[in-house]
Structure formats: structure tokens, C-alpha cells
């Protein structure tokens, strides 16, 4: 569970092939839209968010992280009936934050991945709630119990998912 501080020289920066960089986010969007039809409880997960965090942490590039998060968020917005940009803004912030954290911390082990995902899920929801309610005027309720449970569930799912996605990493 320890999160080790690392220097820039110690950390490894990974890159991903173009097919992986394109297909994995699209696959996450597809599964996020498809699985809740059969397993309703799955809507508590946010696969696009997990993919955003994974790519941001692995690449350790803030620009790449925020752009990747922004694009994934906008695509996720386009599947809803809400104005486009709510998920985009939230995931842009998360992408930037996760890549910034990845530069400073070693987030390769399961414990750190759990904590990072747990924290960034709450950040994501907080930004979404603030923008959605404050700017767009959506009817949103902040339910602490639901938020914490969802954050925990996503953090748990992140561990095997990140391990799976580790296979696509290429050392730069």
C-alpha cells in the first residue's frame, strides 16, 4: 500500500501503440454503454474514467493526459442527452491530475492504484457535480454513501483492469 516518491530519473515512461490508444478507450465506452443493459449494477463503474487514469499515469505526460481525458470525456458526453462537455471537463482535470501524480509517485503497485483511483473518482464526481449543477443547472444530488461506494467499487475494479492493460505497455 506504500506510495513511494520517485525522482524523474527513476520513473519509467510508457507509450502505447496507436491501435491500443484508440481501441481501448472506444472499447471502454462501448462496454460502459452495453453492459448496464444486462447487468444494471454495472452503471456504478466508470470504465472511461479508469482508462483515462491508466493512460495518464502510464504516460506520465500532463499534456497527453489532459488531452486524452478530454477526448474520452467528450465522447462519453455524446452518448448522454446532457450538454457536451460535462464529462469532458471532469476527465480533463482527472487526466492532468493523474499524470501529474504519476510523475511524482510510483503508482505501479496495486495499493497505490487503488488509492489513486479512489481519490480521482471522487475528484471526477466533484468536478462533474460542480459544473453540472453550478453551470448547467442539472438536478444532481450529492450522496456521500453512493459516492464512496462507487469510488470503492471503481478502485477495486481498477486493480485487475490496470494489470490487464499493463500488457499493452511499451517502454519508451
Amino acid at each position: 500500500m506504500a506510495i513511494a516518491y520517485t525522482s524523474r530519473e527513476q520513473i519509467e515512461v510508457y507509450r502505447f501503440g496507436m491501435p491500443v490508444a484508440v481501441v481501448v478507450p472506444l472499447l471502454a465506452l462501448f462496454l460502459q454503454a452495453f453492459i448496464p443493459l444486462r447487468l444494471h449494477f454495472f452503471s456504478i463503474f466508470d470504465l472511461p474514467l479508469l482508462v483515462t487514469i491508466f493512460f495518464a499515469v502510464a504516460r506520465r505526460s500532463q499534456v497527453s493526459g489532459l488531452l486524452n481525458g478530454g477526448v474520452i470525456g467528450l465522447l462519453q458526453d455524446s452518448l448522454t442527452h446532457q450538454p457536451i462537455g460535462l464529462f469532458g471537463i471532469a476527465k480533463t482535470v482527472v487526466g492532468y491530475g493523474a499524470s501529474s501524480l504519476g510523475v511524482k509517485l510510483d503508482v505501479e503497485n496495486s495499493g497505490s492504484r487503488f488509492l489513486v483511483t479512489f481519490g480521482f473518482y471522487l475528484v471526477h464526481q466533484l468536478v462533474y457535480f460542480a459544473v453540472g449543477r453550478g453551470m448547467v443547472g442539472l438536478t444532481l444530488n450529492w450522496r456521500w454513501g453512493h459516492m464512496l461506494a462507487a469510488a470503492f467499487a471503481n478502485a477495486v475494479l481498477a486493480i485487475p483492469l490496470f494489470s490487464l492493460l499493463d500488457r499493452f505497455k511499451q517502454r519508451s
Binding site: 462501448f30 500532463q62 489532459l66 452518448l79 448522454t80 442527452h81 453551470m135 448547467v136
Partner: protein, 432 residues
């Protein structure tokens, strides 16, 4: 300045990207209607994802059907027996409901009501969702190329699902009734109180704007009221699950949707709704009591020479027996119910007398018709003065009825003429 931006390049890019997204969001929020500016990105995303979703759904359905229809047949025999029993029960129920429906149609006809008919639906497969709890919608595999249009109601056999929100070429977005932005006119079945059914952020459906003095109980059915001009009136929404006091003297009524919104597979899109006046179907039995109650508020005068003895005549016709255009009783021959003759609808009416009690040796002006007499709407027209009573010979489908002519002197029914209209336009002969 340039040095500062270069030194904080990443933060600068973050601010620029966020600023662009906020501006884009603000533009959309400012427009009250659905903005076309964002339609392109939605179309792209949906066009990329829906083919995969369709493929997965079709594959899943194929495998499931193969399993259910060819391999997993355990318990089918028992299920078949149970279904047969249910069919028999439903047949009986259908007969009763047909009668009720026919009666409702007649009354609506009399009152000049117009009904909405769902004249065309289109079956569609649910292929996707938004994947988010903040946007409760599903995607269906039918779009504008199949004739789907915005705001078309979507239902299942169980009840209302929602309405079409956005239409793409080969798919459509359906907003569920439990979404926070959804709203529709609803009415409680028993108390007939109207309200607005809204979704909540938590995915509940709540009936609002029902005043606190209304008697609403848990379990009561909630239907569409038709007031929103989107959903036809009378569609089943769900049942009341909890009633609690709300704000400003209104009740807070939670409704459990009849359709299982969390596991939708197939839905029906109502593609055409027609509005027309109800039409009485020729040949359908019409109860004379209905016409009497609608047309005759007055109490019939007492018969002066009626014999105390009465005879039961004309037992019920067998089901499906030919219609008897009968009992074209002239006004002067039916003293008790002159308006029956004179005020019947323009459409010809004949009598099928299941049980008509007529006094023995009754004269025409003492003849009356029992309240449970059945009237069959016919097509033929004859002069209304062709007086007829109930049949008394084998020449008529009701030949077994031992009916005697009401009087030798008075006009009596011609039992040998089955085609005997008894109607005249209501404006010709007013009730006396």
C-alpha cells in the same frame, strides 16, 4: 510573458483546454432548444458504437433463442398446460371486457367524445445505454430511416418506457421516464387526480402536483393523462408505491414503473396515433337499458289495462345467432318507452331479446321492454312505423320465444320480417 507561458506550458494547455470546454458548454446551455452544433459529435460517436452494439445484441439474442428453443426445454409441458389454463381464463375475461368496451364506446358516442387510437407501432431492440446514472436513456436499433421521429412514445407490454429524444439514421435515443429531465402528464386511475410525473436524480419516478386533499393509496394504478400531447391517454405507467406529504400542500407520490426500466430488451415505438370519434360496430349487442338510461330520464306512465299475469318469453339467443332486426316498435305501440323508438341513434337498431317480460294479453300501449333487453345494431332501414314485436314463430331466429302479439288491434311486431329497422332520425319524432 512568453517565458512564463513556456515555463508553465502544461498548466497553460490545461487552462486553454478547460476554457474551450467551458465556452462550448456555455454555448449549449444558452440555447434552450437542442443544439445542432453538438449533433455532429453525437452522430459520430453513435455511428461508431451502435454497429458493435447491434452485433452483440443480435449475437446474444441468437444464442439465447437457440438455447431456449432447442436445448433448454425443461418444464415446457407444465408451462404449456398453465398457459392453456390462462388462455381459457383470459378468454372469459375478454368477453367481459369486450362488453365493457362496447358500452364505453356507446357512451362516448352519445357524448361526442373523441378517442385516441394507437394505430401503428414499431418493434425495436434496445442496443445500448448512456452508461451513466446521470443520464437515464437507452438506444434502440431503429432510426430515421425506419420512420422514427422525435417525441414518439415508447412502451412495452407492461407499460410506458419513455419517449424518443434524438433520432439518428439507424438508431434513436429514448429518454426513460425516470430520468431527472423527464416529465409527463399522469392521472390516477381511481381518484382521477391529475399530476405531473417526473424522474429524479436517484432514478425514481415521482408524481407531483397532486393536492393533499386527494385520497391516494399505495397500489393505485397511474396512467398517462394525455395532457402533454406526447403520450396517448390511458397508457399504464405504474403503481403508487409510497405517498407522503410534499411541499405547498401537494403530495409526494412515488410511483413504481410497470415496465422494468433497468432491463429493457424489446420495446414498441408508437409511430402513429389517430384521434377519432368512437364508432358503434354494427352487429354488436347494445343493451336497451343503456339507451334507455341515456335517452329516457322520464318515468314511464302506468299501464291502465295491464294484466297482472306476465309471461317470460324469448329466452336468450344462442351466441352467434343471426341478428334480429326486431322490435321496431312505433311510439304509440310502446307506451312505456316511446323515446326508445324515436330517439335511437341514426344507425339502425334491432332488438335481440334475451328475456323480455310482456304481460299476457297486453295491448300495445302497455308493452314494455325489460331493462336487460339486448339491442343489436343493424344495417337495414325501414320505416319506423313498421311495428314489430318479439317473434312468435319459427320464422325468426328467436322462434322459440313464445311471444304472443301484444294486441290484435294495435300494431304488433311482424315476426316474419327480420329486416325491420326501428330508427328514425332523432329530430323527426321527439319523445312524447
Amino acid at each position: 510573458m512568453e517565458n512564463l507561458l513556456t515555463r508553465h506550458r502544461n498548466v497553460t494547455i490545461l487552462v486553454v483546454v478547460l476554457f474551450a470546454e467551458v465556452i462550448g458548454l456555455a454555448v449549449q446551455v444558452k440555447r434552450t432548444t437542442d443544439s445542432d452544433s453538438t449533433r455532429l459529435i453525437r452522430v459520430w460517436t453513435v455511428s461508431v458504437l451502435t454497429p458493435f452494439e447491434k452485433g452483440f445484441v443480435e449475437a446474444h439474442t441468437g444464442v439465447r433463442d437457440l438455447w431456449r428453443n432447442y436445448f433448454y426445454l425443461r418444464g415446457v409441458r407444465n408451462q404449456n398446460r398453465e398457459l392453456q389454463e390462462e388462455i381459457a381464463r383470459l378468454r372469459l375475461e375478454r368477453v367481459r371486457l369486450n362488453e365493457d368496451a362496447a358500452q364505453a364506446r356507446r357512451l362516448q358516442l352519445l357524448l361526442g367524445f373523441k378517442e385516441q387510437y394507437i394505430s401503428q407501432t414499431m418493434a425495436a431492440q434496445v442496443i445500448g445505454s448512456s452508461g451513466s446514472d446521470v443520464s437515464r436513456l437507452v438506444y434502440i436499433d431503429k432510426g430515421s430511416s425506419q420512420g422514427i421521429k422525435q417525441d414518439m412514445p415508447v412502451i412495452t407490454a407492461a407499460g410506458l418506457v419513455g419517449r424518443v429524444l434524438q433520432v439518428f439514421p439507424y438508431s434513436s435515443q429514448v429518454l426513460l421516464i425516470n430520468d431527472a429531465s423527464s416529465g409527463l402528464g399522469a392521472i390516477l386511475e381511481k381518484s382521477r387526480s391529475q399530476g405531473v410525473l417526473k424522474g429524479s436524480a436517484a432514478g425514481e419516478t415521482i408524481l407531483e402536483k397532486v393536492t393533499g386533499d386527494e385520497q391516494v393509496e399505495a397500489g393505485e394504478t397511474v396512467l398517462t393523462s394525455g395532457g402533454d400531447r406526447i403520450f396517448p391517454k390511458g397508457l399504464r405507467i405504474g403503481t403508487v408505491s409510497k405517498v407522503s406529504p410534499g411541499q405547498d400542500f401537494f403530495l409526494n407520490i412515488r410511483v413504481k414503473p410497470a415496465a422494468d426500466l433497468s432491463s429493457l430488451e424489446e420495446v414498441l415505438v408508437i409511430t402513429r396515433v389517430e384521434e377519432k370519434a368512437p364508432v358503434s360496430e354494427p352487429g354488436r349487442p347494445v343493451r336497451a337499458s343503456d339507451i334507455l338510461s341515456a335517452r329516457l330520464p322520464s318515468v314511464p306512465p302506468k299501464a291502465t289495462t295491464a294484466s297482472p299475469k306476465t309471461s317470460k318469453v324469448a329466452p336468450s339467443l344462442p351466441v352467434g345467432a343471426p341478428k334480429v332486426r326486431k322490435a321496431a316498435l312505433p311510439a304509440d305501440a310502446v307506451s312505456g318507452v316511446p323515446a326508445l323508438v324515436n330517439n335511437l341513434p341514426k344507425e339502425p337498431v334491432g332488438l335481440v331479446p334475451p328475456r323480455v317480460t310482456i304481460p299476457k294479453d297486453a295491448t300495445a300501449d302497455r308493452t314494455y321492454i325489460a331493462p336487460d333487453t339486448t339491442v343489436v345494431l343493424g344495417r337495414e332501414k325501414q320505416p319506423a312505423h313498421t311495428a314489430k314485436t318479439l317473434p312468435d314463430s319459427g320464422a325468426s331466429p328467436v322462434s322459440s320465444s313464445p311471444v304472443k302479439p301484444a294486441s290484435k288491434n294495435k300494431p304488433t311486431a311482424d315476426t316474419t320480417k327480420p329486416k325491420s329497422p326501428l330508427t328514425q332520425p332523432p329530430d323527426q319524432d321527439k319523445p312524447q
